[in-house]
């Protein structure tokens, strides 16, 4: 189960899906937290800027030379801030002071160049509700005015539920102002001296988020708020993300399981079919419905393999059936003959006839068994050949002389045309091949026919050919004649036929010598069987053509 392809696919699918979902969830969570912090920081910064600009008005001049507060910008910021905080919109009276600033004479750029900062400041701050302060006495801060912030602003910082708090230090860390519920915050000096740019810093302490603005004066304005609520809400988001992730994972795994099951179903079907294809039922085949897919191709290949298996299996079955049949017939003769003879007393002639019959059957069985054993040795790859140098022409002529009486009996002209042909091989076996071919040619020839034996050299090969002018072999039978127990002429009775193994043995012997045997036949005109053997290397070249 655990090693099955389907479960491994499932497991990998789940692992990959979990990893992707985890990364995605962490990134989303982090981005959302960053966005939230940015929003908080922006809010704190805006508040701090308003406070800073107010603070500047408390210390308008004499403190800083060559520096001009960015008045217009501060006013804009302040107004926006107030509008955003008070949903009902700022009342006339609250913003009256700002609005009532009489339009100061326009200051041209020329004036800017010529006039001093003080002159411009005086002109512009003359009507400000807060009187222009005296040059600051370093030891006694003059920030006594409780009205330094607008009323709406103070509501932001007053009360237990106040969202924000602020603390104002001077550059020496002396607290100038602080809202009522501001926590204890250690002073951290950000002032780098005159001419330094204003500095802003953001810090998180515990559940608090704070920004510190350091003005060019060296005053530090801290605005902070609690972010406990934001953290809690972010945690909620985190749980939501996790729940969504689980849901997607479950869906993905279930869907993946369905998909892999669907994909693997044909494989299961194929394996079932393949299981059924046993020795008993080799004819069954895999369904080739999806020949275009990879599985279809696999099924095709498997079917071809099964075809070959079936062919080999049937061939083997036929062979053993034939062999058993050929062996059982002479055995039946022996068993029946002895039973008959022994059933009652017989005459001497009858005993003689019975013994002769048994001898004939015994010889036939021996020859058949010898042939089968020989073929089995060739099949097993142990042909046990006595390889020696020999003259193929001599071997052929011996066979011709051996079979001449048989040819004479059927009035067949036996002619041989041989050249000396030195080859290396087993003399007895090669002799058997030529004798076999000759015997077939004579046996299946008409009376008064002709059989030619030729030994020659063609293209560096030794050729022995046996041709007759007999009835020939039908074209459709020709490919089968080397098969075991195949008889072309089914009409031949057993009395004149051989074992049906002659040509199969010839083929095995010739192939064991590295050669090949071929048959050509023209029905009604004759048959030629040709044995082609390789020549030894030193004689491989044509002597006429070195």
């Amino acid at each position: 189960m655990i090693r099955s392809l389907r479960w491994r696919l499932q497991a990998w699918h789940a692992v990959v899906l979990t990893a992707v979902l985890s990364i995605f969830g962490v990134v989303v969570y982090h981005l959302q937290w960053q966005t939230r912090l940015h929003q908080i920081d922006a809010e704190l910064n805006r508040t701090a800027e308003v406070l800073t600009s107010r603070l500047r008005r408390l210390f308008p001049k004499g403190q800083v030379r060559n520096w001009r507060p960015p008045m217009e910008l501060s006013e804009v910021l302040e107004r926006e801030w107030l509008q955003s905080l008070t949903s009902s919109g700022p009342s006339e009276s609250e913003i009256e002071p700002t609005r009532r600033i009489p339009p100061s004479p326009a200051i041209s750029s020329d004036e800017m160049e010529r006039g001093s900062i003080e002159e411009i400041s005086e002109q512009r701050f003359g009507q400000w509700p807060f009187p222009p302060a005296e040059p600051r006495d370093e030891t006694t801060p003059s920030l006594a005015d409780e009205q330094w912030l607008p009323d709406d602003f103070t509501t932001l910082f007053e009360g237990e539920e106040a969202p924000l708090y602020y603390i104002v230090w001077d550059r020496d860390g002396v607290i100038l102002r602080r809202s009522n519920f501001a926590p204890q915050v250690p002073f951290k000096n950000l002032y780098k001296g005159w001419n330094s740019m204003p500095v802003q810093e953001v810090q998180s302490r515990g559940g608090l988020r704070e920004v510190v603005h350091c003005t060019s004066f060296g005053n530090h304005v801290l605005v902070g708020r609690s972010i406990q609520g934001d953290v809690a809400s972010q945690h909620g988001t985190g749980w939501l993300l996790a729940a969504c992730g689980w849901a997607v994972l479950t869906l993905g795994v279930v869907g993946g399981g369905w998909l892999s099951g669907r994909t693997l179903r044909p494989i299961a079907a194929m394996s079932d079919t393949a299981k059924n294809i046993s020795g008993e039922n080799l004819s069954q085949r895999l369904d080739l419905a999806e020949t275009d897919s990879e599985l279809g191709q696999l099924a095709l290949v498997l079917n071809q393999t099964f075809d070959r298996l079936q062919a080999a299996f049937e061939h083997q079955l036929r062979f053993t059936g034939d062999a058993s049949h050929e062996l059982r017939t002479p055995l039946a003769v022996i068993v029946s003959q002895t039973e008959l003879t022994l059933s009652k007393p017989r005459s001497n002639d009858e005993y003689l006839l019975a013994l002769e019959t048994c001898q004939r059957a015994g010889r036939r069985m021996r020859s058949l068994i010898d042939s089968l054993l020989l073929l089995a040795r060739f099949d097993a790859g142990h042909p046990d050949l006595q390889r020696r140098a020999l003259d193929l022409a001599e071997v052929a002529n011996e066979s011709v002389e051996l079979l001449r009486p048989l040819a004479d009996e059927k009035q067949i002209t036996l002619r041989s045309e041989t050249l000396p042909m030195p080859v290396v091989g087993d003399r007895d076996r090669l002799g058997q091949v030529v004798t076999n071919l000759l015997a077939n040619a004579i046996r299946y020839n008409q009376e008064g026919g002709r059989v030619d034996v030729r030994v020659e050299r063609v293209n560096g090969h030794a050729i022995v050919s046996v041709s007759d002018n007999g009835i020939g072999i039908p074209t459709e039978e020709l490919p089968h004649i080397f098969e075991r127990f195949y008889r072309v002429d089914k009409a031949r009775t057993r009395a004149e036929g051989g074992t049906g193994l002659g040509l199969a043995i010839c083929q095995s012997v010739v192939e064991a010598h590295g050669g090949q045997i071929t048959a050509r036949s023209e029905p009604e005109h004759g048959t030629t069987l040709e044995v082609r053997l390789p020549l030894p290397p030193e004689t491989g070249k044509d002597p006429q053509n070195p």
Partner: protein, 217 residues
């Protein structure tokens, strides 16, 4: 009883034919399928022993063609002994099946049983009045006394007894008692019938003049 044996192995054919003749059968032989088919169609045999592997026309084809015209019982001889082969043989109309090599006694017993069944005779011993015919031992007893009959006389008694209460024509008797090599002149049916009457009683066989003989019992 006349039997046809079709077998291409000459020695086996000779042995089987001799065995059957010694058992009292009239035997015809054929060495190939065509000859076997011709004889099977031409004569009335009591049974046919048919080899499967035959030259010219194999045993299955011979069986098929014989079955189109005759219901002669056929016993197939074959060297192939797989279940599929046997089933095929029996399905194709063979009445029995024997695998080579076989015991001759089994061949004889099966052949006897085949012939008996084909004429509707279920048991091997036929009793007609006080005459008892044992088809296995090939003996005839009258009042439990053995009666000596020649093989031909026995064959004639058996033939008529197998077809008891049915008229058996002279030609049928010729066909079933004598094989193709017998000289019919030396086998006059009337002589045999007369000899049987002497041994088994005058009324054992009735004559229907011009038609044939019948055992009434």
């Amino acid at each position: 009883m006349r039997v046809l044996v079709v077998e291409d192995e000459p020695d086996l054919l000779r042995v089987v034919a001799t065995t059957l003749r010694e058992d009292g059968y009239a035997v015809d032989t054929a060495a190939d399928g065509e000859d076997g088919l011709f004889k099977a169609k031409a004569w009335e045999y009591d049974a046919i022993v048919l080899d499967v592997n035959l030259p010219k026309l194999d045993g299955w084809s011979v069986l098929q063609r014989v079955r189109t015209v005759k219901r002669t019982p056929v016993l197939m001889l074959t060297a192939r002994d797989t279940v599929a082969d046997r089933v095929r043989g029996l399905n194709n109309g063979a009445d029995d099946y024997l695998v080579k090599p076989f015991a001759l006694t089994e061949l004889l017993a099966r052949l006897r049983a085949l012939i008996r069944r084909s004429v509707g005779q279920a048991v091997a011993v036929i009793e007609i009045g006080d005459v008892c015919i044992d088809t296995v031992a090939k003996t005839v007893t009258r009042n439990e006394d053995p009666v000596a009959l020649t093989p031909t006389e026995y064959a004639l008694v058996e033939l008529l007894a197998m077809h008891r209460q049915k008229l058996v024509s002279r030609t049928t008797i010729y066909d079933h008692l004598f094989d193709e090599e017998d000289d019919s002149l030396s086998n006059l049916v009337d002589v045999h019938v007369s000899n049987i009457r002497k041994k088994l009683g005058r009324d054992f066989i009735s004559t229907r003049r011009g038609q044939g003989y019948i055992i009434q019992g």
